[in-house]
Symmetry: C3
Subunit: 208 residues, 3 copies
């Protein structure tokens, strides 16, 4: 893994941990709760991916991820007394960056474990979105990403692009950069124009 990817990955973990820690503040959790939500959001997706792949769970081997999450949670508690200190726009863009990166890295890892193309795309998507889903489930909310502006779809696009571009012969760094750019642009466009996929619904009479 190149140095750039490594630091980008750490940046993604910080952003996701921050998003979990801020959610914890909204529900008045104690410092341990802040840490749990930060950790679950940041490494939840990668943990599920590694368990399904039968790979050693990455943060058990690379403890720096845990340290980064711990420091992020601590600084959030100490410094962020006003959520305004974290501009909404910064969070959205940083989160979109983390989403795109995690999706591509997750896809790459699945391919390196000799998974099929379809499985690898799913693994990439899980890496990108599952952490935020678990965070929402713990906080007793229906995961936003199941309703939000083209969130998961962007992760899927990144995964698909990475698979497709390496398949047609591009080198991994180039394919990865293009795939990330694609996912990032789609997600940012979704936020900017507030585009959501049309919700699926009906007046339900299947009430139990």
């Amino acid at each position: 893994m190149s140095t750039f990817i490594y630091f980008a990955d750490i940046f993604g973990v910080i952003v996701f941990a921050l998003s979990g820690a801020l959610m914890a503040g909204r529900y008045r959790l104690d410092p341990f709760g802040v840490m749990v939500l930060a950790a679950v959001t940041a490494v939840g997706g990668g943990t599920i991916r590694d368990i399904i792949l039968g790979a050693p769970v990455f943060w058990t081997v690379q403890n720096e991820y845990v340290a980064v999450i711990f420091v992020t949670a601590l600084l959030t508690i100490l410094l962020i007394r006003q959520p305004k200190l974290v501009p909404k726009r910064f969070m959205h863009v940083a989160d979109a960056f983390g989403l795109a990166l995690f999706a591509v890295l997750g896809t790459h890892k699945a391919l390196s474990y000799e998974q099929t193309i379809l499985t690898s795309v799913i693994m990439g998507t899980i890496t990108g979105v599952a952490g935020g889903m678990i965070r929402d489930i713990i906080c007793n909310r229906i995961p936003l990403i199941l309703r939000q502006e083209i969130y998961a779809l962007a992760a899927m696009l990144g995964s698909f692009l990475f698979v497709g571009l390496t398949y047609i012969g591009l080198s991994e760094p180039i394919a990865g950069s293009l795939a990330m750019a694609g996912a990032l642009i789609l997600r940012l466009a979704g936020i900017y124009w507030k585009v959501s996929l049309p919700a699926f619904h009906f007046d339900d009479e299947l009430k139990d």
Copy 2:
């Protein structure tokens, strides 16, 4: 796995995916949310089973399950504008069929991984009911199957019967058919006569 079992298994996946997709419609999820709920309901139980068994997660190897879920979710979105199009009775019977089949297949798989009888019965039950539980947890509902008419008990009966009948020497196809029939009948009887196990409750003073 015989051809009959294979197609029955695919049918079970379709029914469970449909039940997840319909639930998504009730909560106005976007198409990606419909897919997630369909997938989680259909393969969640088997995924937990395989992870606990240390087996390769079945759908990562057999991608046709993923394709079937994708098509089911898509068709649900496109065709089912009125839930009346899916008669309640059909859903109940089809779901009971899936439950019985998954329980028996899950038990069979656990036994083939040399698990104990008790563990295999638990694995069969998990295969049958865990998907629906995760679906409900994501949707922020207390899982119905923890309260519903003899749902999980039917899965357990199927698992027990399969273990018992193969133990006394019946061939797997015969033991499996009888076990499925037993689970199916118990579940359908529970629905038909609206029999629930008596709820366990008390006026609680252990409030935290």
Copy 3:
């Protein structure tokens, strides 16, 4: 594992199973629901630990844990018609004992799987607290331990103490006893003086 540890472990499982079963009564679940909540509370943490470690999940090999949970759930249903029969104080102390023990045993297991110190501390904490978290998530509650009086912190302290004390050369039984005592005392002090860590919160404007 010494005979003492073994019986202490079984005692911890009983207490956690009882806490899950009592929660089920509060939500009027059926007997199967009582069993599921009892099981999830009692072995959920250890199951996640074993899956992350890549170890065989302990209760699939040692079925006596399942039997103990089954009997505990059954007796709870049959005998406990008034929750007053289980004094709050007894539950708190017994639960603190289970928490301390599970944390130390979980840490010990992680170390024996050659995990790093940090990973082992996390595994110990997960073993102690994750079961209760899953119980609360199933019941559609924000996990109390993310807000409660020094609950998870006590588990963490026990894990840290065990790692530290064995590192400086104490034998495992002595390090384990001291670590358990430390965790137990911290938790009981938290309950007795109703000490909670200060909640992290702010008036949130990051509403989605």
